[in-house]
Amino acid sequence: MNNDLPARRETAGLSQADLAAAVGVSRQTINAIERDRYDPSLELAFKLATFFDCTVEDLFDPAIDPDRLHE
């Protein structure tokens, strides 16, 4: 899933380890999310959004086509 995590993290001056520690996951998990290799759970997505004081939609773009919801 496309996400805005690297930009927001770098703007905040945080390392992946800092962000991982803040939301209680491993640095590898943050790395995997940033590289679009792992989609976080809803709980983790909300934790990240809370941490950056934004909405989940601000952070993640699932690129869902409204005309193809049934697929």
């Binding site: 927001r8 800092d18 209680g24 996951v25 998990t29 995997a32 792992y38 941490f51």
Partner: protein
Amino acid sequence: MSTTPTGRNRHERLAKRRRYRWLMVGSIAVGVVLSLLLRALEYPLVGEVVYWAGIVGFVAVWLATPVQLFDERDVALERRAAHLTLNVFAPVLVVGASAARILTYVGAYEVPAVVWGALWGYFALFVTFAVAYGWLRYRS
């Protein structure tokens, strides 16, 4: 953005998680390697004791650790690895069991008991999976 007044504690918690995970894996790895070595040196009973010490160490760290050892990605990876493993062994069971039955039936080859044992073991594994899946589905 949220501030992190306890950021150092959080880093320490993650470092502790890494340490405990290494301790868990190390405990069982050292136990197995030493037990193999001791068996090769003709100390099978001591090897078995060391093996069990490794197992007990693994379980002790797992149960007694004050931190969460695995995060959600670890769980997802475990699920995918289990799925992959089942996908590897399903064809082995389907083709292997059929081949063993046919070879036995036509008398072309006497399938060793150990192979039958392995096939029954795989079968038991898939039955266990089916029961576990059904139970989880019923509960969800």
